[in-house]
Every structure is written in C-alpha cells, then in structure tokens.
Symmetry: C2
Subunit: 340 residues, 2 copies
C-alpha cells in the first residue's frame, strides 16, 4: 500500500455505507504522524499525514493529534459517532493500563493521558500501544506474519526496534511494552551505544551504525558512488542511497550492510532458541530498500547460529505493509482490546 | 523442602482421605529421577528417588519411569484410580502437543511417546513439559515467583537453562519449548561453547565454565583451598566446594564466580528490555550453594545494564523449592492443562 505525500491526504472509498462501524489507526512518530480511517474490515478509507511538529510550533501537543484525526474523518466524510474505536501507536515509555505516555523524548512528552483525551474528544474507546508493537501486530493481522503462533518483528532503524505477537496478542510486561531488543549485549567491549553502554545490538546493526561506517568509507575515499550521492555527513545518508551505491559498485558499502545484517542475524538466531518464533518479520526503511539482500543475509547468519533442533522451526520474511503497518495494527488492536 | 536420599523414599501423610484426588509430578533427569505423589493442593504425600540408569542396564526405558511411579504410589498407599493426572518434566527436544520426547541425548531417547504410555499405564491424563519450564512453573505456583505477570527463570548448571511463565501459562513455541537462553551470543569471538559456536552465554557463565576456570586456578597453584577439596579435575569440582574454598580464602575462586555471575547479570539485563519480566528467579545447584553472593552479583550487573526506564520493573530472587521444583511444577501443570 502506498500513502499520500507528507502533509497530503487522500480519500479512497467515500461511498462506504453510513451504518458501518469505522476505526481510526494512528502512527505517532517523532518526525511524522499518520492517521488512517478504516472500515470495519480495516480497509483504509482515507489517510492524513502531517509533520509531527508544525513550522511555527516546536512543541507537539495532543491538540495536533486530535486535529489530524478530525481532518481525516472530514476527508472521509465520516462523523465521529460512527467510530468504534481509536488505536494509537506511540513511541517512548508507556503506561499501558492507564493509557498514558509516561515519557517520550522525541515528542518532549511527559505523563500525557493520551487514551482519556482521545476518548473525550471522540466519544469512543481508545487504546495506546507501543509503535513497534503496532507495526508487528499489523503484519500479524494483514501482512507477512498472518496466523503465526509467535511472530517476532525486528525493525532496524535509528535504533533496533522489536515487537512480538504471542498466541494472537501483543506480548507485554506487567504494565509496559517490551521487546527492546536493541539493548541486548552482543559484543562485550564492543562499540559504544546511544544508551551509554557497549556492544548493544543496535550499536552494531542499526541503520545509524551502518551510516556511520559508510560515512567513514566515504571519508577514506573507498565509496566513490556514495560520496556522489550523500557525501560524508551521515545525517544525509538514506537507505535508498545505500542501495544505489551498492548497485553502482561500492563494494565496501555492500560489505558494511552485510556485516550489520550478519550481527542482526546472529542475534536473531539467539532469539530463536529463547522465544521460538515461527515467523520473524524484518521491517523498516533499510529492509524495505533492499528486502532481498537483507532477508538473505540475516537468514544466512541466523542459520549458522541456530541449534539443529530449532533449524526448521522458523522462517524469516520481509514486512509487507510499509508505512501503513503501525496505523493499521493500532486500529486492529483497538478492536482486539475492546472485544476482550 | 528436603527429599529422601538417592534411591530412598519416604511416606509423609499416608492418612490422606481415600476420596481425595491425587497428582503425580515427575522429574526425569539425566542422572536421577524423582517421583512425587501429592494431594489435591500439591502437598507432597510421598517421594521416590532413583538413579536414571540402573547398574545392570545402561539404557533407560519408560518401564523404569512407570515402575518408579508404581512404587511411589505403593509407598503412599494410593491406588491409581485416585490419580487425577501425571505431569512429567523431561529434558531434550519435545513435541508438546503429541506428548513425545523427540530427542533426549542424555537419556538416549528418540521419539518416545511418553504421554500416551503414562496414560495407558495409569488410566489418567498425562502431560509432558520441558524440565526447566516445570521448575519455573513450580516456583511460580509455590515458590519465589508467585503471582508474577512474567516470571523468567534462569538456572546456571552444566548449561544455562531458562523458562518463562507469562500471564499464568508456560511460554512456549508453536510445538516446542523454548527459553534456551544459554545459546544467545554475548561475546562475539568469545570462548567456545558446547554447541560448537563461540561466545554463547553458557560458555561464559555456566557452572561448567566456572569449574573450568577454577580447575585452571588450581593447576596454577592460585587456589590452594580448592586444590585440597577437589584437585584440578573439573569433574570433581562441585558447587559446595566452590563455596567452601571461597570461605576458606581462595580469592581467585570468588572472582571467577563473580565474573560468571556478572556475565549472567548483563545478559539478564538485556532480557529485561526484551521480555520485561517482573520477577527473575535464579535456581540450580550453584545458586543454592551461594544464594546471597549469586543474587547480589547478578543483580548488580543487571542493574548496570538495564535502561533507566526499566530500572524499577523487576526483581531478582533465588529459587525456593530446591529439588522438588520440577516435580511439583509438573504436577501443577498437569492440573492447569487438564482444566484448560
């Protein structure tokens, strides 16, 4: 599925019967937000995408979230009384049972009662969940992990996010989300991580770690194609450029990506013994930009690591839903939670 | 709780009313087996402990398991028609849904239909489960992890075993047990593991890894107390001797144990982000021999590793049930499975 441009919107099926229940799924990211209205089968009716922070206002409040939902409903020609529920995937540390975002550095949020504010604004049940969990749940319900007993999702990006669907429900802590696999130690005394520790998985296999190694290669003159595309500022290096540089012949970039995928695969191999997932979904921009290379490299490294007894218990696949995964997963989770 | 001597047995409450339901829990280990008959509240009535292999016969068959249960029932003065169910904790690779031990190297077993043979022999429902899972479930029901939302059990022994109770049920794969945490890589290019790979958790923190390091210290003349107690053959080094050597002043042995506990604590810290357990139970002979030292060292290392957001979400405790954990957990799991 593709979505409208940033800050754009589209109405896909405005003719939906007025008596049907509708859902809203929301993806609240650090840089952009996406609201999707769906019908009762979670088919998108309309989408609204906006930057998380407006140009005038550097603080983002619940007002902007609510306003975005109002706009997408308007776009779809749907009134709030038809809404059966709202699910919103949020970053940061969440208090799941009370529906509060306890702390989200990216948003500058502390103790924001997201659930109650949405319920008040739209007069329907709302639920919050971790954004990566929402994405994995989306893949479980509608994407490449359907019908899995245990679906483990791993999303290498700025960090390495994870989520798990276990026997149909999102795996969680007593009152918090989990599967923060990025901060497991995989290399004692390894590279320094964003968290201050050494040798975390995300310090060796995130997109950021790849970009840092790639920028060094550019600086050393070993990656002329990437030098043309992005230069040596790692802030400019995007997943698509890495793919293009590899295609154009930057062998060292290919090796850097393969190394990172290899570390990820070894860690996933360890998680196969620990969690016995039958489906492992890889997603995020990096994987989307080079699904074949990535899935192949991760699979090869995992295969080397996994004990013979577990060799045939799992498959590794690429995510399918792209930018819609979090919003659709959140909407479907709202239904699953309300029904429970 | 203490148990009778090896190959001994005891009858604790033979006067139980004849109308009450009884359960059998069974711990099938590589060197010894333990059968426990309990009342309907899982209070032990009698125990029967035997070596897994008899002196005459180096192969152990289901006959010996069945015979041990018959003997413990006799001891307790209970007839098979009062049995509500049998739970048996088994090592190796299990096919949970069909109740088959697919492969257990320690026992020399391949494709043994344990569940159906027990059901046929005793005319009551039976269930098989992984032995470590059974032990953790025992701690969850009757020991130090009661009422946990997510109880993670870690048992450093010859390897490093693990099990998890999630929302009241044993966490499992589609058709296999899991939480084989011993084979997660914690040290890229680290010491060689039993599985052939390098840097697995169990290669740096199992009792065997400790014994190997301790034997080296003895050989080098750095651990005179352990030299007196055990010599340099690591097959002779038992947990109790390590404690005694430490008490008598072998500083290097203390350091070796602390190093291993530290690696374990770091790995547990990583699992806190991944699984958000609210209770982590440490068990097995090594922990039992020095619970304070071990829990303290593991906790300190975990605390250093855990991200601030998860700092107050968990506690680390020592197991309570000792040798009874697996059998009692298996019996209680039989009830939970039959009721489900």
């Amino acid at each position: 599925m593709n979505v409208g441009e940033l800050n754009g919107s589209e109405s896909l099926m405005p003719e939906t019967a007025a008596t049907d229940r509708c859902w809203v799924g929301f993806d609240l990211g650090g840089t952009k937000m996406l609201a999707v209205v769906t019908d009762d089968h979670f088919q998108p009716i309309a989408r609204k995408r906006r930057k998380t922070r407006s140009e005038e206002d550097n603080s983002i409040g619940m007002g902007r979230v609510i306003n975005t939902i109002e706009r997408v409903l308007e776009e779809a020609g749907i009134t709030a009384d038809r809404l059966a529920g709202i699910g919103i995937g949020c970053p940061g540390m969440l208090e799941l049972d009370r529906g509060i975002v306890r702390e989200a550095g990216n948003l500058g949020w502390e103790n924001v009662p997201v659930q109650s504010q949405l319920e008040k604004a739209f007069g329907c049940p709302a639920v919050i969940l971790n954004d990566v969990d929402a994405g994995v749940y989306g893949e479980y319900r509608f994407g490449s992990a359907q019908k899995a007993h245990t679906a483990l999702g791993i999303f290498p990006g700025t960090g390495v996010g994870g989520g798990m669907i276990y026997e149909g429900r999102i795996f969680r802590g007593k009152n918090c989300s989990c599967l923060e696999v990025g901060h497991m130690q995989v290399m004692a005394d390894g590279p320094r991580c964003s968290c201050g520790r050494q040798g975390c998985l995300e310090a060796v296999s995130s997109r950021l770690a790849i970009s840092a190694a790639a920028a060094q290669a550019v600086f050393r003159g070993q990656a002329p194609k990437l030098a043309e595309l992005a230069g040596s500022d790692l802030a400019n290096i995007r997943s698509g450029m890495l793919v293009e540089a590899i295609k154009k012949g930057d062998k060292i970039i290919e090796q850097i990506v393969k190394d990172a995928a290899g570390h990820l695969g070894t860690a996933i191999g360890g998680l196969v013994h620990a969690l016995a997932p039958d489906v492992i979904v890889l997603g995020g921009g990096l994987v989307e930009a080079m699904p074949d290379l990535y899935v192949e490299q991760v699979s090869a490294a995992a295969k080397k690591w996994v004990l013979p007894a577990y060799a045939k218990t799992y498959e590794i696949v690429a995510a399918k839903l792209g930018d819609d995964a979090v919003a659709l997963g959140a909407a479907a989770w709202a239904e699953a939670t309300i029904a429970a």
